[in-house]
Symmetry: C2
Subunit: 298 residues, 2 copies
């Protein structure tokens, strides 16, 4: 296998402003920090995997602007193969993130040109050369084909879903690993309690493992008819941006090295908690030994 994981999804550029003041609409306020960082759920999950030593590639598209060039350069810097990334006319996916250290709150304003993500071709050979595929919900057409391709080779398919969009629910039956936010679980099931939503999703797709993540409240996993909770690690978060993305990457890493599921989720939770101690999604991507130090303090 040439790659451990291939990701298909959006890669973005996050501009992170750090404020010590109480932000106020209509005001002109100075920031104490300004950081530019690659972002996007799939891209950050792949960056996590690369940081842990996995071989990863990404497919998708950026716009033909300066932001797109910076996104690609950033993916390459963190060790992601970008040969299957396409450049399309239009503006890239870009976000301004207002981070308020000390408060567990962040505000995101994002923009993209949807046409950039249209007609991204299926990278058949690339997908067949990997052990696992990670998809999001932004390019459902090609994601459907990609998931079927991966299913046919017997590899793992993980989905990261934040919101129910068009065709999102058609993707779920094709995924072995459905790892979603509490908000998505609520939208997809109509059930408010995350643990109950996890159970409902699992009974809908019986073969699949379902995890619903709940921020500092940890996560609920429904697997093989069983439901269990994994608490989050107690940390002083600096910025929780991307916790879910790092969780996805670390979970795939642990599953690909055959950790049992409960251990794999603990590993992912520890990695996500560590990432909350840095700015943005990639300000503190942990190594395997850093995660293991948190799991088993000496």
């Amino acid at each position: 296998m040439r790659y451990d994981v291939v990701g298909l999804g959006i890669a973005s550029l996050d501009l992170i402003g750090v404020t010590e003041e109480q932000p106020l609409f209509g005001a002109k306020q100075s920031l104490t920090g300004w950081h530019e960082m690659g972002g996007g759920p799939v891209a950050t999950a792949l960056a996590t995997l690369a940081r842990m030593g996995a071989r990863v590639a990404m497919t998708g598209a950026v716009g033909n602007d300066g932001y797109g060039q910076r996104i690609l350069a950033d993916l390459q810097t963190v060790g992601i193969d970008t040969q299957a990334m396409h450049v399309r006319p239009g503006t890239s996916h870009v976000s301004f993130v207002l981070a308020e250290p000390g408060r567990d709150r962040r505000t995101v304003w994002w923009h993209n040109d949807p046409t950039v993500l249209e007609q991204v071709p299926l990278e058949h050979e690339l997908i067949r050369s990997a052990r696992a595929l990670l998809i999001d919900t932004h390019m459902p057409q090609v994601a459907l084909h990609a998931a079927r391709t991966m299913q046919a080779t017997g590899g793992l398919v993980m989905i990261d879903a934040e919101r129910v969009r068009e065709h999102t629910l058609e993707l779920l039956p094709l995924c072995n690993l459905i790892v979603v936010s509490a908000e998505f679980a609520r939208q997809a099931t109509g059930v408010v309690e995350p643990w109950e939503a996890a159970r409902v999703l699992h009974s809908r797709y019986e073969e699949q493992l379902v995890i619903v993540t709940c921020g500092a409240e940890g996560s609920w996993c429904a697997n093989k008819g069983e439901l269990f909770h994994t608490p989050a690690f107690e940390i002083e978060p600096l910025d929780t941006t991307g916790a879910g993305d790092v969780f996805h990457g670390a979970l795939l890493y642990a599953l690909l090295r055959d950790d049992p599921i409960r251990l794999a989720i603990r590993f992912a939770s520890a990695a996500a908690a560590l990432s909350c101690q840095g700015l943005g999604g990639r300000g503190n991507l942990p190594t395997v030994s850093e995660v293991e130090a948190l799991l088993e303090p000496a």
Copy 2:
């Protein structure tokens, strides 16, 4: 004279996000537009002058980052000579502006590295080669010397002051044209009413012309013992960012072609109003004939 106006101040990069939704802290919201545009009060005033056909140069500094390169390229594109712009280690001045078309509200979060603006050298010859100097309050040390240099040649010195900072009040006696926001006038005088603050400032600096701008409420001018109000033009603003900057540039333009003061302020108000119909500070910089069409409808 090689230049009509030399500007000494900050040049920034404004990233403008346009939202149609009610913005909300703690949320993740999509923007309907994302624009990158040069900004900064002095830079936008110079861009206005250049648009009107004046010969202008800017001195100051940007950081040695990608933003600095984009700021310089943008100044050049609008016709500003940047040979006296310096590149210093550190991050450039950059802002995220949240624009809400339809509501006269914008929110600005800005960041810079103050060391970038330290020790900007005095461009003695450049200043002596111009008819007027425009300064802001960000580099008071070099601005003091620049203003004295210009005074000695008998040229005009205009200051754009938004906020009372260190040494700001030492700059005022060196300026022929004190054109400030209502907020600055209040801070500098302790007087709440803009017309009264204009009178207080004018009696403090008897030789100087004082204008206090009040957004859609127009402006108050105190000159040669006289006080008068100029109403704003009634327009449907799209984004009022930079109205004051365009007002400064257009006012200098009109005064340099020897318009009487009341006419010059009307010219500046018309230019500022037109600029409010475009996004950001430079989304709709008017030409002289566009301003004149608003002043004297056919």
